[in-house]
Each structure stands twice: as structure tokens, then as C-alpha cells.
């Protein structure tokens, strides 16, 4: 039992180490200095207060996107639509942020709530179609991503601006930014969203592991037939799972709209945060606390990468290669497990 748990922790750790090593080989082969590259990466992520602030800011939506993917996955569903749910959440949050001017205690929660509701709606549709007509959620969520992207762009152009490319800046009463955090981190874009995402992680853990709702959701995820036999409403749980997953994703969008950017702009393509959430969930073992660690790693890689071209002449794309390698090694965890058992045998 505990041995199993140890392997579950060791596999992602090994995957990360292998990813970094193979990434170094790729750098060497392409004629870059891996040590300089990784030093720059590390400095760019944690080197001073500003960088730390930026890293934490980047970690925030990753945690929430990872939670969204993991929540659906733990209940037997594959939510590829986190990206779309995040986009509509972002849009809804900014909309509320620019449309009203209210006291902060009302305005900020209302904007976040709007984002959660939009994400929930975007999750409800594939959930309902799955429960009612057995349409596979992967297909529907992928299509919902495109609908979210282009609907959001259309709304930004015609409603939130006058055929412009971005909305107004949100009122300060809806913002997650604070002068205190800015002064702490040398004017980085760090905002209070990190606290919300950490709370969300605790909520996800509690909901899944400690409540009857979570028990039902997990049971349905593992075995629909047994859940039906036990008197659970399988269809209701499928919809609920997608809705809750959408709520996490929608709040991730609110973090971008109310914290990082304080507005919403027309997007040429996906933000990628929702898709990275799949990798975060995978690396984090679909567990709330694992996801926090995985999100920190991904956030650090993303932010630190920005420093690599100027400090070490290494293109940022190499970080994407490293990330891809890590995902590859996590996905091929069977291989790592095999190596671990071999090592254990020889140790005996």
C-alpha cells in the first residue's frame, strides 16, 4: 500500500528529471549550453522578487485548470474543454468587471461568480449531452472550445468594445491586484488569485474525498453499473461532474481577467492554459496537492523560459520541448515503473 504510494510519487519525479536530462541533450546537440540555459531558466523563475511574483501569477491559472481536468478525470470523464470554459469564464468576469461599479466586497465575488457560472454552463452542455444521449464528451468539449473562442471574440468586438480588439480595463473594485503585492514583488503582475486557487485545491480534495457527493462521483467514475445498482443517479452525477469541472475552469479564466490582464482581448488562438491543465493534472496524479506541485513546475518553466534567450541565447521553444518530454515520460510511466521495480529487485 505505502510502497504503491511511494511509486506514485517517484514516477512523476523521475519523469521530470528525465525530461530535464533529455532536454539538456537536445540543447547540447543543437549547439547550446545546457548549464547556462537551465541557470537562466532557474533565475528567470526564482531569481528575484519580481520573477517569483511572475511565477506565482502563472501558477495560479495552472492550478485551477489542472483541478478542472483532474476533477472530471477522477469521476470518469475527460474534459478537453477546460480551455473553452476558461475563455468564457474570463469573458464573463471582465464583463461584470466593466459593466458595474460596485463596492469591492460585492463586485469582486460577483465577477468571480459570473466566471464560475459561465464555466459551469460550458461544462453543463457536454455533460448533459453525455448523460442524455451518450455523446462522447471529448468530441463535444473540443467543439465547445471553438465556440467559446469565437463567441468570446465576437462579444469583445461588438459588445465590450466598439469593433476594437480589447475591452475596457475593469474597475479597480473588481480587480484581484493589490499595491501591497506589487510592492512586495517589485511591480510584478502578482495578484490575490493564488489564494483563491489554493482554496480551490482544498475544496476539490475535500469534495472528492470527504463528502457523499464525492463518493458518488468517484463511484460513477469507476463503475457506472455498480453505481446504478447501488441506487445512485448516474446521469445526474455525469452532469454534476462536468459542471463542477467547468466551475474550476471558469474561475481560472477569472484569474486572467481580474488579475493578470484586467481586461479581455480578441484572441487569434487558444490561450493554451486549459490544455496545459491536462498536463498539470497528469503530472500531479490527478490529486489536489500533486496538482499544486505540478502547476508550480509548469509555471516556473513557462516564466523562467522568458529569460533564456537573453541570458543564455537559448530559444524559449526549448522549454516547450522539455515540457513535452516531461509529459512524454509521465505518460510512459509504465517504463519508469519497470525501471523502478528492476532497481528495487537489484537492491534486495
Amino acid at each position: 500500500m505505502s510502497e504503491n504510494r511511494l511509486t506514485n510519487i517517484l514516477v512523476p519525479v523521475f519523469a521530470v528529471i528525465l525530461g530535464i536530462i533529455v532536454g539538456a541533450i537536445v540543447m547540447l546537440v543543437s549547439g547550446y549550453d545546457p548549464i547556462a540555459g537551465y541557470s537562466a531558466l532557474l533565475y528567470g523563475a526564482f531569481g528575484d522578487r519580481y520573477y517569483i511574483g511572475e511565477t506565482i501569477r502563472q501558477v495560479t491559472p495552472y492550478i485551477l485548470a489542472g483541478l478542472a481536468v483532474a476533477f472530471a478525470f477522477r469521476t470518469g470523464l475527460f474534459n478537453i474543454g477546460v480551455e473553452g470554459q476558461l475563455i468564457v469564464g474570463w469573458l464573463a468576469a471582465v464583463w461584470v468587471g466593466v459593466a458595474f461599479e460596485l463596492p469591492k466586497v460585492i463586485h469582486l465575488p460577483l465577477a468571480i461568480f459570473a466566471a464560475a457560472a459561465a464555466g459551469a454552463l460550458w461544462g453543463f452542455i457536454p455533460g448533459f449531452l453525455k448523460a442524455r444521449f451518450r455523446v462522447h464528451e471529448v468530441i463535444v468539449t473540443i467543439m465547445m472550445n471553438y465556440i467559446a473562442l469565437y463567441v468570446s471574440n465576437a462579444v469583445i468586438r461588438s459588445v465590450l468594445s466598439d469593433q476594437g480588439f480589447k475591452s475596457e480595463k475593469i474597475y479597480p473594485s473588481a480587480s484581484l491586484r493589490s499595491e501591497f503585492l506589487q510592492s512586495l514583488t517589485d511591480y510584478s503582475t502578482l495578484h490575490y488569485g493564488i489564494i483563491i486557487s489554493l482554496i480551490a485545491a482544498v475544496v476539490m480534495w475535500f469534495l472528492l474525498e470527504k463528502t457523499t457527493t464525492g463518493y458518488e462521483l468517484r463511484a460513477v467514475g469507476f463503475n457506472q453499473h455498480a453505481s446504478h445498482y447501488a441506487g445512485m443517479n448516474v446521469n445526474r452525477n455525469i452532469v454534476l461532474s462536468m459542471v463542477i469541472s467547468g466551475v474550476f475552469a471558469g474561475i481560472a479564466g477569472a484569474m486572467e481577467g481580474l488579475g493578470t490582464f484586467e481586461n479581455v482581448s480578441v484572441k487569434a488562438g487558444f490561450t493554451g492554459v486549459g490544455f496545459d491543465g491536462i498536463a498539470v493534472a497528469l503530472l500531479g496524479g490527478n490529486h489536489a496537492f500533486g496538482i499544486i506541485l505540478a502547476a508550480i513546475l509548469f509555471g516556473a518553466l513557462k516564466v523562467g523560459a522568458l529569460e533564456m534567450p537573453s541570458a543564455a541565447d537559448v530559444p524559449t521553444e526549448l522549454v516547450d520541448i522539455v515540457i513535452a518530454l516531461i509529459i512524454f515520460f509521465v505518460a510512459s510511466s509504465y517504463l519508469i515503473r519497470l525501471v523502478l521495480t528492476r532497481l528495487k529487485k537489484e537492491g534486495k
Binding site: K210, N223, A226, S227, H228, Y229, G231
Partner: protein, 509 residues
């Protein structure tokens, strides 16, 4: 004496678990040799070693006196060893012939020579009295026929030595008799047979010798003519076993389950339960005997709410429960040991503890205001594990990690503990060994003696005859006869199950 197969001191180890500990099995030419053992005793491992699926860690295999090495099933085929699997390996949409030639198709100028193949299949079928139509589609023929196709597959590939893996588990009594005739015909034609089984009656009836293994160890080889079922059971289990479950006459009370005119249609709209009537009283066990596919599954699913019914009435203690939700029915007082324990009975990736509260998790003390109380859950699990002798390292172990018998005990513990007025047990002992079967039968009778109504569905006539107080025979969705187990015979039941009217069966009511 000439041996066609000799497995000498075979040893097979998985990790730290010794599955086969120096087992010796010698097969004479032209004999039917039984391999007897409980589930998990190592029968399948031994046969997989012979069939080339596992490599032995020790010992040697000789075929016709020559030492051989069998690295994969193709080599086993070349050596003339064929396996008739318990779970058929057939393509449903192919014909009999197409299935038989699959993998070794005869060709004529690049095309499959289906006519020649059909001719060969027909000849083989006639030679061994199998009566298989080479052109029939697998989906259209009975389970018994499908098994014969499996036999033909091995013969077509030139097997001299046939391994039958629990071949009678899926057959009706009549089909079992026919299979026995086929096996006898095979040995007359010079084939040799290894029969894997844990059914003692079959061994006594058809086998020449029997090798008993217990917990991975070879206990010995006996001549069937010099032994008896009691001795074999004791050798297999390691202690005395009682076949006839001891029970008092039933104290029948008021009706608990009353089914009237029930009609159930399957997803294709075909009537599978056809105006069925049945009553089960408090304090009695009613056994439903029937060939698989005559509406038993649908009947149970309709009673328990897993499937909607068209019309009729199902009353529990006088209250109408037809087409209520599974939860409403469960709360009315129905316990259900489902036919497929992996599909319906357990969430395999949940711990034993979590599985023990599958229908009660939302009630106190297991949860309060939507928050689970794991202490109460695992306390309950510990109590049931103890009470029902579920062998598990602890209550936190995943259900998946338990053996079938222990999974079944866990389900029975859970269902009985809820103290239902009606306990439905569907195939409760399928795939279990003698010891576990004895335990489960005792528990069912215990429920009866506590004044509960028990509805038992089983394809095992022994079980039906042994445990039931009344037997209801189901055929094509109808109860065609109700008989007293003390006044009937397996032959009569078999005929009733096959659709004969009672008069034709030669029994007066």
C-alpha cells in the same frame, strides 16, 4: 505404460508466490484425466505452462517420451496440444468454418478455399459425432454448439491431446451429457484428454484418473474407480466437506414478494419476461432453475429496478415497487447479490470499506450533512470482514485485489447486514470453490431461518436442488412449473428447463 504427456516436478513462481510447487501430471494415451483443485490452487497455471503461455521455473515436460520446451502456444499446437477455453475465443459474426480455419486458412490461388474447409469441418464433425453445421453463424448457435466449434478448432489443427478448461460451467444438464459422449468418442478415436474441473460428479462419471492439487502442491493421482466424491473433496479442500447443506424444514410465513403478470422487454423490444407469476414467502428459499437466457437476468433487474418493466405488478410486503428507482426498492427492503459481481456488485477501485456502504453511505452514521464519516465506515467494514470471513489484508485494500470468493463474501456481508426482507441471490456461487460455496449456502439458509424470503437464481442444478425449498422452472420468460426439490430429479428439471411440458417429463403433479 506409455505416457503422451509428462509434466514432471513443474514449478512456477510469481514474485514470492509459488503457484505450482513441484507438481507432476502424467497423461496416458487414450485416457480422460481430471485435474482437480479449488480456485487458485494452480490448475490454470499448470495448464498454461503446458500450453506455452508460461515458462516453468523448474521441472520438465515430455511429450511422447521426448523432452520438450514449449515457448509459446504455436509450439504447443505443433506438438498436438489443443486447448478448449472456458471463455470461447470465437468471432460472433463469422460462420463456424470461418472461425475454425482462422489463422490457418487453406488457400487456392491466393483465395480462401472455403468449400474445401467446409468439407473438412463437416468430415471432422461427423467423425466425432459433433453434429455442427459448418455454415451456421456463431451468433445463431447455442452455447453448447459454440463449445463444439472450439473442440473442432483444436481437432482441425491436428490436436491429439485436448485440454478442457471447466467445460461444463456454461452448459445445461443435457448438453453436459452430450459433451460427455463427445469426450468418450474422442478417446475412442485415440485422443487423450485433460479435464480441468472442480465438479466431482463429472470426474466420477467420465474420467479414468484424477490428479488433485491443493494450494499449488500436487496431492496425488488416483484411479477414479478406486475413489469416491467425499475422498476427492477432502483431498481438494484439505478437510471434510458436507455436500448436503444441513437445513430444517422451512417455516413458511406470509407472502413477501408477489409478482403478477410481469412483462419485461429488452432493448430491442423483444419480450423476455412474458406474463410471469411468482410468489416468495417469508421463511422460504425459492430457486429459479433455467437455462441461461430465458429471462432470469431481466426478471431480477425488473424486481430490483435496474430495468424498466412494461406491465404487471411487483409487490413487496403488499407495497407496489414496480418501476421504482433502485434506491427506493433497496430502501423498501430488497437485498441483491448480483449475478456479475464485477459489473454490479463492487466498485473494484474502491476499498473494501467503501464498498461495504455502497447503498448506505448517505445515511447516518456513515455520513452526516453530506460529509462522510470514515471511522464509522471502516468500523462497519471491519465488523463485516470478521463476521463473513472475508480474507483481506485490511479494510483499506481495494476490492480488486481480493479473490472472487472473498469479493462474493464481502457482497453477501453487505447485503445481509442491511437486513432485507427479500434477498435475491443471482448465481451466488459461480466460479467459487467448494469451501466458499458451502459458506454461502449456509448464509442463505440462515437468512431463511430468520424469516426472510430468499430468491435464488442459479444455472447449477445441484445448487438449486440442494438449497431451495421450492423450485420454479423458467422457460422463455415464463414460470412453466413449480416443483418440490425432494420429489424431482435432475432429469425432470433438465427437461422442464428445455421446454418440455410436465406430462411429457413423465411426472404427475
Amino acid at each position: 505404460m506409455e505416457y503422451v504427456i509428462e509434466m514432471l516436478n513443474i514449478r512456477k513462481v510469481f514474485g514470492s508466490f509459488v503457484a505450482n510447487d513441484n507438481i507432476t501430471l502424467q497423461l496416458k494415451k487414450g485416457e480422460i484425466h481430471a485435474l482437480l483443485g479449488e480456485n487458485g490452487a494452480g490448475k490454470s497455471t499448470l495448464m498454461n505452462v503446458l500450453f506455452g503461455l508460461y515458462q516453468p521455473d523448474g521441472g520438465e515436460i515430455r511429450v511422447k517420451g521426448k523432452k520438450v520446451n514449449i515457448p509459446n502456444p504455436n509450439v504447443a499446437n505443433d506438438l498436438g496440444i489443443g486447448m478448449v477455453h472456458q471463455h470461447f475465443m470465437l468471432v460472433d459474426t463469422f460462420t463456424v468454418t470461418e472461425n475454425i480455419i482462422l489463422g490457418s486458412e487453406p488457400t487456392k490461388s491466393g483465395q480462401i478455399d472455403i468449400e474445401r474447409a467446409e468439407q473438412e469441418v463437416r468430415e471432422l464433425s461427423e467423425r466425432y459425432g459433433l453434429a455442427v453445421d459448418p455454415k451456421a453463424k456463431i451468433a445463431d448457435i447455442s452455447v453448447g454448439m459454440q463449445q463444439r466449434v472450439e473442440i473442432l478448432k483444436t481437432l482441425y489443427r491436428g490436436a491429439d491431446i485436448l485440454i478442457f478448461d471447466e467445460p461444463t460451467a456454461v452448459l445445461t444438464p443435457q448438453e453436459i451429457q452430450e459433451l460427455i459422449q463427445i469426450m468418450k468418442a474422442l478417446v475412442r478415436e485415440g485422443k487423450s484428454i485433460i479435464l480441468i474441473t472442480h465438479k466431482l460428479k463429472e470426474i466420477m462419471e467420465v474420467c479414468d484418473r484424477v490428479t488433485v492439487i491443493r494450494r499449488g502442491k500436487g496431492i496425488g493421482t488416483l484411479n477414479v474407480s478406486e475413489t469416491n466424491p467425499n475422498e476427492l473433496a477432502a483431498l481438494m479442500v484439505g478437510r471434510e466437506v458436507h455436500f448436503k447443506t444441513e437445513k430444517q424444514p422451512p417455516k413458511v410465513g406470509k407472502p413477501v414478494l408477489e409478482i403478477q403478470d410481469l412483462v419485461v422487454k429488452d432493448s430491442r423490444g423483444i419480450t423476455v419476461v412474458d406474463h410471469l407469476h411468482l410468489t416468495v414467502h417469508a421463511g422460504e428459499i425459492v430457486g429459479i432453475a433455467g437455462v441461461d437466457g430465458n429471462g432470469q437476468t431481466e426478471l431480477i433487474e425488473a424486481i430490483t429496478g435496474l430495468m424498466k418493466s412494461e406491465s404487471g405488478s411487483i409487490r413487496l410486503n403488499g407495497k407496489e415497487i414496480r418501476n421504482l428507482t433502485p434506491r427506493q426498492i433497496t430502501e423498501t427492503g430488497v437485498g441483491h447479490i448480483p449475478q456479475d459481481r464485477h459489473k454490479h456488485g463492487l466498485v473494484l477501485d474502491f476499498s473494501i470499506g467503501e464498498n461495504m456502504v455502497l447503498q448506505t453511505y448517505y445515511k447516518e452514521p456513515y455520513s452526516k450533512r453530506g460529509v462522510l464519516n470514515f471511522k464509522a465506515i471502516y468500523d462497519k467494514a471491519r465488523q463485516l470482514i470478521q463476521e463473513f470471513d472475508v480474507r483481506t489484508p485490511d479494510e483499506y485494500t481495494k476490492a480488486r485485489a481480493l479473490s472472487g470468493g472473498n469479493q462474493q463474501k464481502a457482497i453477501i456481508g453487505r447485503e445481509v447486514d442491511r437486513d432485507p426482507d427479500l434477498l435475491i441471490a443471482a448465481q451466488p456461487t459461480r466460479g467459487l470453490d467448494v469451501g466458499a460455496i458451502e459458506f454461502i449456502h449456509k448464509r442463505l439458509i440462515e437468512q431463511r431461518d430468520r424469516g426472510k424470503a430468499v430468491l435464488l437464481v442459479s444455472f447449477e442444478l445441484d445448487e438449486i436442488m440442494n438449497v431451495s425449498d421450492r423450485i420454479a422452472v423458467i422457460y422463455e420468460g415464463k414460470i412453466v412449473a413449480i416443483v418440490d426439490p425432494k420429489e424431482t430429479t435432475e432429469q425432470e428439471l433438465g427437461l422442464l428447463m428445455a421446454g418440455s411440458k410436465r406430462k411429457e417429463a413423465g411426472v404427475s403433479s
